[in-house]
């Protein structure tokens, strides 16, 4: 009897604790009928006839959702939060002045070799170039590249240079602009900490600040720009990404 009921429950995917409960329910029913003087065969027949598969399945599903409800809610919340954050990070890292000449070509004559910007491997969260702003529905230029990092991660100068600008504004947050040989300029935005002053000479590999999310950035990342003689370059051509 036990095996037969168990087989029905397993067949209809009733598992775990609820399987024990239903098994106990139907076996108790069977024993109850036997104790009323009904023959084994008749009791078994009656018990099986009372098992309503449709109800069993519905109850099984209902109980599953009672226990998984919170997990499902948390997963939904996480997904929507993640989507929201990625949209926001993308929109805030788009610069609003498109009147800049963009040079997409890789210059063969470019001989400079950038040193490391951040420790560890580089993760690009937003690339350089024109792209359609998802909210404003117009083409805007992203003047640099966004690199995913954690707050407090060290930012290093990839070249020898001189500090051209250090400052803070609402859009860029704490920012640094360095000028280098051959007319190169590099810029670093959204920093949490800046550890240098204007006109300071910087050597390649020196720590210049720390990653943050200051200015118009919701999640910590480094916005990095490079230009040559005031023409913006795609940082991908200089970084190993």
């Amino acid at each position: 009897m036990k095996d037969k009921i168990l087989a029905i429950l397993i067949k209809h995917k009733v598992k775990g604790e609820i399987q024990d409960e239903f098994l106990d329910h139907y076996l108790t029913r069977y024993e109850h009928l036997l104790s009323n003087g009904i023959s084994k065969k008749a009791a078994a027949q009656k018990t099986f006839s009372e098992i309503n598969i449709k109800q069993l399945k519905r109850a099984n599903k209902a109980i599953f959702f009672i226990h998984q409800k919170r997990k499902i809610q948390i997963a939904m919340l996480a997904i929507s939060l993640f989507t929201l954050l990625s949209i926001l990070q993308f929109t805030t890292s788009v610069e609003s002045n498109p009147e800049v000449i963009v040079d997409h070509e890789i210059m063969q004559s470019d001989s400079i070799q950038l040193g490391k910007l951040l420790d560890g491997p580089i993760h690009v969260s937003s690339h350089f170039g024109l792209r359609k702003h998802p909210l404003m529905q117009k083409e805007l230029l992203h003047k640099g590249i966004d690199l995913k990092a954690n707050i407090g991660d060290a930012v290093y100068s990839p070249l020898d240079g001189i500090v051209e600008k250090v400052g803070y504004d609402q859009k860029r947050g704490n920012y640094i602009e360095l000028s280098h040989a051959e007319g190169y300029t590099t810029r670093y935005y959204h920093l949490s900490k800046v550890s240098l002053g204007k006109n300071q000479a910087i050597t390649k590999g020196k720590k210049i600040g720390e990653v943050g999310s200051s200015g118009m950035a919701l999640s910590p990342h480094l916005h990095f720009e490079i230009s040559k003689k005031e023409t913006l370059k795609d940082p991908r051509d200089y970084l190993r990404v």
Binding site: I18, D24, L27, R58
Partner: protein, 120 residues
Amino acid sequence: MHNKIRYTCPMNDHKEFLSGTLSGIILGLLSQNGRMYGYEICQQAKSLSANEIEITEGALYPALHRLEKKGLLTSTKEKVNGRTRKYYSIKQESAQLARDKINALISFSQQLNNILQPKG
């Protein structure tokens, strides 16, 4: 002629009776009997109502799990005839809340009576 009240899984014809009162019935029976297992609850409801109220397992177990999840009930397991039996009882910390729910249902049923069978 009147129909039996059958507490089956929701989506049934009697769903208007089911909503709200099933958990009250469960709490009421548990407060009288201390601890009970599923089949026992069905049988008690049936016998106390002269076979008029029948709670099916499809409605009962989801309701029990819901009440346990809400923290009104607690459960223990025991081995009976080589199988596991789950006993439910009202959680001590929730005894007052359970009483309130039972009283609310009692007063509702009395008011329902007053409306449906007004005296003189």
